[in-house]
């Protein structure tokens, strides 16, 4: 069973208050499986075989989204890539038409053809440009120094840890992702559903805050942590034909021949 856990974050308030408590909401697609066990609790249905062994596996996927963020289904970079390609095309066109002096000037000042400003993000102490645009909820590119842009910097899950991981109930894994702000990774986990009960874990989330540094806007990571739980349930695997653990004969009646013997199929 694939379970999506979406953390909806009020980014601006979380940055202002310095906490995700009261500013992050967990929703998931397990509503049909069991009544909601509580806020920030995800139901994980488990099923066991006749010998008590585990028969199903649950996979968790964490998705973080800002309240004012771009819908997840839109590629974050399409408009940026279009603009960049357009700017490069204009630069090549201008270079073709320019004189020798003009070419040197153009190459030394690409701003002359409106190249987009890079997003500067501090990672591991160093400020690096990222080849990812900042888009608002309408998919429009925001300037990196736009003071209203904080709400649109996507939150990033950076770690899944805590008792459920240490006790061998959650097995987190990193998968490749096209989201460059997440460094190309996203978190998933498998659940050992043999461990019935409520198990706590921590989700580490990074939000980005804009600061001014040497006259430039730099996006600083701000680490946050959110305590969540999984509620692992259990049920015996039942054969639908017999109502027990083991299979019987298929319920096909002797006289119900729907086609004559030897008829072509």
């Amino acid at each position: 069973m694939q379970i999506s856990i979406v953390a909806v974050i009020d980014i601006v308030t979380a940055l202002k208050e310095g906490t995700l408590d009261g500013n992050a909401y967990l929703i998931d697609n397990t509503g049909p499986c069991a009544p909601q066990a509580g806020s920030r609790v995800t139901n994980v249905p488990g099923v066991y075989n006749a010998d008590g062994s585990q028969t199903t596996e649950a996979v968790l996927n964490w998705i973080t989204v800002g309240v004012a963020d771009l819908p997840l289904t839109l590629p974050r970079s399409y408009r940026h890539r279009y603009n960049e390609a357009n700017a490069e095309h204009r630069l090549v066109d201008a270079l073709r038409k320019a004189t020798r002096d003009g070419r040197a000037k153009l190459l030394s000042d690409p701003e002359a053809v409106s190249m987009p400003k890079p997003l500067l993000v501090r990672r591991n102490g160093a400020v690096r440009p990222y080849d990812a645009p900042l888009l608002n909820g309408a998919g429009e590119v925001l300037e990196p120094d736009d003071p209203a842009a904080e709400a649109s910097a996507p939150p990033v899950v950076t770690h899944i840890r805590g008792p459920a991981v240490e006790h061998g109930i959650l097995y987190p894994a990193l998968y490749g992702s096209p989201d460059l702000l997440a460094d190309g990774w996203y978190w998933s986990a498998t659940v050992n559903t043999a461990n019935v009960g409520c198990h706590e874990y921590q989700m580490d989330v990074t939000l980005y805050q804009q600061v001014q540094e040497n006259g430039e806007s730099v996006w600083e990571p701000r680490p946050f942590s959110l305590t969540c739980s999984i509620q692992v349930g259990t049920a015996p695997e039942i054969n639908g034909f017999t109502g027990g653990f083991f299979p019987g004969l298929l319920p096909i009646l002797p006289s119900c021949l729907t086609s004559a013997a030897g008829e072509a199929i």
């Binding site: 069973m1 694939q2 379970i3 999506s4 697609n29 509503g31 049909p32 499986c33 249905p45 099923v47 199903t56 996927n61 049920a235 015996p236 695997e237 039942i238 054969n239 639908g240 034909f241 017999t242 109502g243 299979p247 019987g248 004969l249 298929l250 319920p251 096909i252 009646l253 002797p254 006289s255 119900c256 021949l257 729907t258 086609s259 004559a260 013997a261 030897g262 008829e263 199929i265």
Partner: protein, 159 residues
Amino acid sequence: MMTPLNIRVFVDVVALLLGNAADGNVFLFDDSLCGGQDSGTVKLTSPVWPGQLVRWSLTPLDVQTMAWLTGVSFDGNAPPAAGLPAPWALRWHGHVPWWLAPGSRHGYRLTLVTGGLTGRTITIDGPSLLFMPPPAGQPIPPQASPPIWAVAQSAPTGG
């Protein structure tokens, strides 16, 4: 020992919920040695032998749109009565009866439920099992009479 036959049902649940037909949105495959006919379509015909274990499993194409198999019923008969446990705990495995005539084909209906017990129920008609004689070298299962429930249900109802 006879190899079990696995029938894998892939379903575009969203397309079916929108009211689209099963054709082109339901894809059945089996791992029969003889090869099922119309593999990859809703009209899959799977050759089976007496005594062979048949296992159905359902996979939604969008893995996060939950759907579970809640019934497999044959020849227009009603699926098992309600009162079964949670749909994600159900498995549909059964042995092929030995009292059926070789060459006979039995259509079946798959019932699936989306989004849990309160979700929508969708029925899929079209696939069938084709009964084959026991393969060469395989022991012939004991020729017993059909069980009482089968005889009772197949008896004429009057008129």
